[in-house]
Amino acid sequence: MESLILFIPFLLLLSSIVIGLSPISLNNFYSGIIGTLLVFVSLVLSIIILLDIYSAEEIIYYDDFYKWISVGDLNIGMGYLIDKFSAIMLVVVLSISSIVHLYSIGYMKEETDFKRFFSYIALFTFSMILLVISNNLVQLFIGWEGVGLVSYLLIGFFYKKQSAIKANLKAFLVNRIGDMFFILGIVMVYAAFDSFDYKTIFLNLNKIDLENLEIYFGLSYIDFSCLFLFIGAMAKSAQIPLHVWLPDSMEGPTPISALIHAATMVTAGIFMVGRLSPLYVLTEFTADFILLVGASTALFIGAIAIFENDIKKVIAYSTISQLGYMVAALGINAYTVSFFHLYTHAFFKALLFLCAGSIIMSLHHNQDIRKMGGLKSKLPITYVSFMIGTLCIIGFPLTSGFFSKDLLLEVMLYENSSISFVAYLMLLLAALVTTIYSLRLLFLVFYNKYRDKDFENIREQSKIITLPLIILSVLSIISGYLIKVFIDLPIFMFGVSDIHYNGIITFIEHGILSPATLALVLGFYIAKKIYKDKISFNFIENNLFNKISLIIKSKYKFDEFFILVSDFMKSISFKMSKNFDLGLIDGWVVNGFPKKINSLAVLFKRKSSGYLYHYAFSIVFSLVIIFGIILARVI
């Protein structure tokens, strides 16, 4: 069984290389098929592994492919650690990836760079797998950077568009800010445990006494390392304030937004924290920090979506806010719950994006929802699947989103500390917001009448587009019922105590009666009134609300802030290069001294007269001087 694990990354790398370097003669369609097949095969392999893991209890596959570095006492291997956690993640990633592969064959068919696209997404899947199965922090970081790289390349896929290449630079740099801290965190962990290896780290957790590690600025060593690692996760998983890259990343092709910027890559942060949960349970400060960051992200960024008019950006903001949910769950050490939400969210968010993709295709690359409307008659399949996706995301009972989100809120509520209660309220509010913007999107796109020209020749896309939608819809609905699996995910993870889970039925009853449902109903009412029936409430007119909406519309000026900082740095570097490097060091010192010496020489040359008696005088004079000195010395 274990030997299969090696095949998964190998197949993906193979497909990436084969497609990337394939000759022109191999036409796009077939290369797409090849890629899809390879990913599908690896999906099958991963499922086999998952079943194998579940067949026996407490089984962990752990080994090294090969030794990466061994110098001094340092040993870093390239290997895998497969437990239930990573096995499930593996399946999720690969399933989404294979579906997106399939979808892309249809979506990208006009593109000239079709093959480049496929080789990229194969490469992405490869690095994601590397990240997921890794058994040490360095390999994790390699995969981490790998997915970042591919996302950089794919956001800039249309490299002629200025907006695209701006966006991908932005994405990479913001991620790099995170990575700087991430690598510091890794190094701190290494310095404490003298190993990058998960197993060693977790086994040594109780051996080293955390007390006598240094304290920096009143925070314990572990606090700091976890904090730094989490800052890395903040960049990758688009948490406030490092979320700015994700909305712009929508410049990439839509399948990419589905695969990378919704389902898999952005959840790498959550995965990482879950993976390192044994460390994170040791920190109080960092946990609270994570909780607050997550909750505020969920609420505030979600609110932006209400006023956004680009269909993809709306979904992007909703992604950020959902990630906020997961992060918040991490903040109270409910890793399994967070992971559960990750898993459900992967499906329905991918679904939403793919629907958006099909809509965009049908409308000839119009993404502005103000120009849409009444599409439900024209695009029935898309409509239905989009509906399902929306229901999931707003947590409509019996959909997957319902299970995950309610479980999350429950846990949050039962974690009785003041901060967590605040967070709970924020998340509840966020649920309301989520409902509003999701339904707004639904209504504006599919209901009322079309607000643009030639309504007639809009038609549903080909099978290869719609099939993935159907698959994902099914998955989105059923995926929630695996809740039990997630609640008892024990390995290396701290399962939530089962106090508020006894049987799925009770859970559903309990969930329906929870405040979340209230938020749902309220949200539905508001959204329907405003965006479908076009009835405007009077409280919208009062200026407090206007102020708030203005603040939200300004997206809290995060972009402006980053632009300010980067301009500042740029001007500093220009100044330094001009004044300090060229001016002081080079001009004044390196070239200055020779210049001075040279001018001195020129001066001497000008001063020397060439008169015979001056020569004679200088001889005699120096003669006298010498004699004077020596007389003075000897007498």
Binding site: K605, R606, S608, S609, G610, Y611, L612, Y613, A616, F617
Partner: protein, 101 residues
């Protein structure tokens, strides 16, 4: 009674005068030649004095050589001056600074 010291001081004075003559005079090259002669004469005085007081003849032999060489020297010096005069009709020293720096 004139001791050796007096002679030595005298010749030293001669030497100094001659050197002074070389760089104080700024008009005429011939004066330069004279002061050079003077310098050699002071040296001769030294030699004679030493040879006299240490009854050793070789010093005075040296003097003859010096005189002879001095003659040759001044001859060559004059020749150079002549050729200099041929080119530019003056032998003023403070015109001779084509070569400098």
């Amino acid at each position: 009674m004139i001791t050796m010291t007096h002679y030595l001081v005298f010749s030293a004075l001669l030497f100094c005068i001659s050197i002074a003559g070389i760089f104080i005079n700024r008009k005429n090259i011939l004066l330069l030649l004279m002061s050079i002669e003077l310098m050699l004469l002071s040296v001769n005085t030294n030699f004679i004095v030493f040879s006299h007081f240490s009854n050793d003849i070789s010093g005075q032999v040296f003097v003859f050589f010096i005189l002879a060489v001095a003659a040759a020297e001044s001859a060559i010096g004059l020749a150079i001056i002549v050729s200099l005069y041929r080119i530019r009709n003056s032998i003023e020293i403070n015109l001779i600074n084509k070569l400098k720096g």
